[in-house]
Every structure is written in structure tokens, then in C-alpha cells.
Symmetry: C2
Subunit: 220 residues, 2 copies
DNA sequence: ATAGAACCGAACCGTAACGTACGGTACGTG
DNA sequence: CACGTACCGTACGTTACGGTTCGGTTCTAT
């Protein structure tokens, strides 16, 4: 029934209808939190519970499918690292920072992280691992090549890319994620995101920028 | 029945027995996560459900009482800021950092933050606000005076104490809290905590340390 | 000693949600 | 046209847990 063409990874190819159902579940998850019921999802998606159970097997199956579906949607374009100079590196870092802040402050991200955190305690499913893979670790996978390219270009100076990445992560995110997860009202306006991105980037460069670049620090 | 003497804040004075019950609930919360039942708490605490309901009124009441009880236990001693020089400031910051890392990586903190995050979505109670108050905001309240004292002593340079604090928070915590909340195995050994504390402190001083102190940077 | 309060243990009730089954409909295929 | 498939809508069984009630026990005070 769902053997159209196999996707890249384990995510079984999803019918249009199934995607619509998962989108409905996602929307409901944002609204209602983890206490959403199968009947509510069925009603919202205009499908029957029987179909829900046939497709996803279980409530946890539906939840994981929903999380994976959302994760598959935020696949971002990689950044080219050709002709790397300080300006382009700075721009890349700022771009990463603002993208990341936009993601973690979005309603869906907050909702998904909430249910994943809630489920992480009782290890029934591995929602936490999924969110972690598509959140923090995906960011690391995408950012580390940029950092290493910056080091090879003599713009950055660090021993361990992981450590450098984690510092960048901390400088960008700070207390935003935990505050949002805990329900703190904290609207991240676009201007604030941009400002935080440049601030975090400047701080990161101050900490990990090479003392002597190939050209001067103000090269354009 | 519990009108001995009113406590400083809203936390009604608790009987020894009530504290024992809350400790049992806390232990159970760490083990079982949010899906702990009133019967389980009663059994663990060797008390009756009737008493539970009489004392705490509700399941949410029990939960909030448990969170507040734990919060009241981690009241840490304030740090004296007499004779502030770079060494003592550094020591204070490192102390804050290591204490904070120890707290957020503890089992009880992870468990409490998990349930608070889970409850933050559907605003039945304000567990999230409580945890936020006794976590991130309490840290800020305790650390800001130190930062401002450092600035007045000419050791630090910043415009907004809040911004400086948030940077310190990010440099210390980085991705630790979200990873632990999402179930990532990540044992923070004592040595790692110490190392992270001095690293974060050094980075913070590199970013916010005054360019020219009252005495030389190596004054002792 | 006795009355009453506080509390324990267990049984009980109501609700809510998971998971299943059944009837009905639309559509494609022999 | 008959038939099978996939699906919707809904009603049902079952389980689990929050909350309540009740009998029995211990402790304290008069």
C-alpha cells in the first residue's frame, strides 16, 4: 500500500494522505501537547481510528512517525564553503545561528521537544533520541565541516571541533531553549534573532578566531 | 493541623512526616518519571491515599509540593564579595559553574525538569514557572551581584548584567541540559565538571573581562 | 479509661482513553 | 454486475488511574 518509492533513510515512503494525517497530528500536538488522544487525531484528520492503527500500529508509532515526519521537513540546504574568507565564514555562522534560533523558538519545535522530553523518562520509545538526532546532532554535523574549513583556511583556531561546536551552541542558544520548554513567555522577534546571531558569532570568533589570519582581520 | 508557624514564603510549614512523604514522592518521581500514580506514592511513603489527598488536595498539588520541597532544599550559601580581585572573582565564577553543572546533571534535577516541561504545555499548573524560578532565575539572582561587583572593581566590562549572565549561562551549560532532558547518556564526571567550569570561566573572562584592570592581570 | 482525632489499608466508583470490531460507502477489477 | 479493497464513522470492551468512602488502629488528652 505504501510502496511508492523508498526514501533515502528508514522513513518509509508516505502517501499524500498519510502525510496529511501526520500534519494534522502535528498541528494537534502543537495545540494540545502530549495529551492528545487518538480520537482527536482521527477527528482532526477526518480519518478513522482503525486506519490510524493500521498505518502506525500504536499511539507511540503515530507519535514517532509524526516526529520523523516533521524532522524530514526541516532538511536545510548545506552551505557551500568555496572561497572561504572571514566575511563568508562570519556570514555562514550568523546564518547557522539565526536559523537555529528560529527553529528552537518555533511552536512546533517547542511542542515536539516537550513530548520528546516527556517520553525520554520512561523508555518506551526513543522520541528523545530522534529529536536529538535531528536537532542538536544534525546541527553539529552540518556545522562542523564549516568550522574545520575555517580552521584549514587559517581563520579559526581550535583543537577539537566538537568542543568548538558546543561553545558555539551555548553562545547561540544560551537559556532560550530551556526557558521556552518550561513555558516562559519569550517572543523571539526577527530583529532579536538577528542581533543574537551576530552577537554569538562575534563572541565565538573572539574565542576561537585565529590570532593571525592569512590576511588581516579586516580583509574584505 | 499544619499551622505551626508560617514559613517565609508561600511554602506552608511541613511536618516531618510530610517531608518524608514528599521525599518518597521525589524518589519515585526520579525512578518512574511523570507516570507515577497516587497509589504508588502512598505505598512508597507508607501512607494512605486519603492522607495524600487531605494534605495536598490533588495530584497536581502533590507534584507542585514535591517540586517546591526539592527547590527549598537546594538553597545554596551566597558567596561573599569582600576584597574582590581577579583570583577571587575567577574562583567564584568557577564555583558557580561547577555547582550549576552538578545540579543540572543530577538525577533529581533531570526528573523534575522533565515533568515540569511536560506540564508546561497544558497550563494546568505552573510547574514550569516554579522550576524556572528556582533554576535559571535563582542562578541569575545569585550571580548578578557578583558580576556587578566585578564590574565595579574594574575587573569586568559589560553594559547589561542580564546579557552577561546569559552568556555565562550558555558557556557553562552549552548542550548539557537539553541532551540530558532528551535522554542522552552523558555522565558528567567530577573531573569533567571541574574542567568545564574553568573553561567556561576563562571564556567568559575573555569575553567580558575588562581590558585594563585596577592592578595588573597577574595581581595576586 | 474513654472519647475523639489522625491515619492506615483496602475496597469502591467514575471517567477517560487505548485498542478493536462492525456496518456503510466509494472505487477499481474480473 | 459481482466482488474485493480501502477507508470512514461509530459504538464497544477493557484497562488504568484519579478521587472517595469505610472499617480498623494508634495516639493523645481529659
Amino acid at each position: 500500500m505504501l510502496h511508492s518509492e523508498p526514501d533515502i533513510d528508514g522513513s518509509e515512503a508516505l502517501t499524500e494522505r498519510q502525510q496529511a494525517v501526520l500534519d494534522a497530528a502535528l498541528r494537534l500536538l502543537v495545540e494540545e501537547g502530549d495529551n492528545l488522544t487518538m480520537t482527536a487525531v482521527a477527528r482532526r484528520a477526518s480519518c478513522s481510528k482503525e486506519t490510524l492503527y493500521k498505518w502506525f500500529g500504536d499511539r507511540d508509532g503515530l507519535l514517532t512517525a509524526t516526529v520523523q515526519w516533521q524532522a524530514s521537513k526541516v532538511r536545510v540546504a548545506p552551505i557551500d564553503r568555496k572561497g572561504l574568507d572571514l566575511a563568508s565564514l562570519t556570514a555562514s555562522l550568523e546564518r547557522f545561528a539565526s536559523d537555529w534560533l528560529r527553529v528552537i523558538s518555533s511552536d512546533t519545535s517547542v511542542a515536539l521537544n516537550r513530548v520528546a522530553v516527556g517520553h525520554a523518562g520512561s523508555g518506551k520509545d526513543d522520541l528523545g533520541a530522534i529529536v536529538l538526532q535531528n536537532g542538536r546532532f544534525a546541527l553539529a554535523r552540518r556545522l562542523k565541516p564549516v568550522l574545520e574549513a575555517g580552521r584549514e583556511a587559517g581563520l579559526l583556531d581550535f583543537d577539537d571541533a566538537e568542543t568548538a561546536f558546543r561553545s558555539f551552541f551555548g553562545l547561540v542558544g544560551r537559556d532560550v531553549q530551556i526557558r521556552l520548554l518550561l513555558g516562559d513567555r519569550l517572543e523571539l522577534t526577527e530583529a532579536a534573532i538577528g542581533g543574537d546571531a551576530v552577537r554569538a558569532t562575534q563572541q565565538f570568533l573572539a574565542l576561537y578566531g585565529a590570532k593571525t589570519g592569512p590576511q588581516g582581520p579586516r580583509a574584505g
